[in-house]
């Protein structure tokens, strides 16, 4: 199944892309997807900061099980204001 992944801020720069579509296996969690992406994109591997996970514009826990067509965002430390 496919999910859409959007990158923002330092993760967008490191991934070299703002948005990608990725084929993943059924039952994958959002936390597992992050580990896969760190292998796909070597420049994401050094990212050790605490990330939050968002799916379809809501924060979710790392064990959220992804569904077809989910929009996934890995949220680096926010700094609005």
């Amino acid at each position: 199944m496919k999910v859409k992944i959007k990158f923002f801020a330092m993760l967008r720069e490191r991934a070299g892309a703002g948005e990608i579509t990725k084929e993943i296996r059924e039952g994958m969690t959002v936390g597992e997807l992050w580990r896969v992406l760190r292998r796909d994109y070597p420049r994401l591997a050094p990212v050790e900061m605490r990330l939050l996970y968002a799916v379809n514009q809501d924060y979710v826990a790392a064990d959220y099980v992804l569904k077809e067509q989910d929009e996934v965002v890995f949220v680096p430390p926010v700094s609005g204001g």
Binding site: F8, A9, E48, M49, A54, V73, V78, S79, G80, G81
Partner: protein, 156 residues
């Protein structure tokens, strides 16, 4: 009114939005761009948002403020893209029957923005640029050895 925009923010628009016949107070907050941060000479800030979620989170925090305080209306507009020194990056307006509720809800709103709304600022300073983040860890893309590992906002 909970909005992310590339345009300059108009305070009067927010004040007009929260104006309410039952309000005895309107409190406003303007976050502006400071020319220095952590010893660096800041040239400008460049904001990026996950816009759909940022507006959703702003709306959520507005609803939370209404539960906690007796307020009439709230408006928050956050700018994205480049923001020059002295220019506003965020404006908040809150109306309430009494001033204490308006002050507290306004303070809550800016603190929540900094804590949980998916907006990021890149600081462009003399000698480099750095993504600012306060949740934890080190900012990436530090192109200058004088950068420190953690930072607060340049708009506090």
């Amino acid at each position: 009114m909970f909005r992310v925009t590339r345009d300059a923010i108009d305070l009067q628009e927010l004040v007009d939005f929260v104006t309410d016949p039952e309000a005895g107070a309107i409190v406003t907050f303007i976050g502006t761009t400071r020319n220095n941060n952590e010893g660096r000479r800041v040239i400008a800030l460049d904001y990026e948002a996950y816009p759909e979620m940022a507006e959703k989170e702003l709306t959520r925090l507005g609803e939370e403020a209404k539960k906690r305080w007796n307020i009439q209306r709230m408006a928050i507009v956050h700018r994205i893209g480049p923001v020059q020194i002295t220019e506003p990056s965020v404006m908040i307006a809150v109306s309430a029957a009494h001033r204490a509720d308006a002050f507290e809800a306004c303070r809550f709103a800016i603190e929540e923005i900094k804590r949980s709304v998916p907006i990021w600022k890149k600081e462009l300073f003399e000698g480099g640029e750095v993504w600012i983040g306060t949740q934890s860890g080190q900012p990436l893309n530090v192109n200058c050895s004088s950068s420190s590992s953690r930072s607060n906002s340049s708009t506090d």
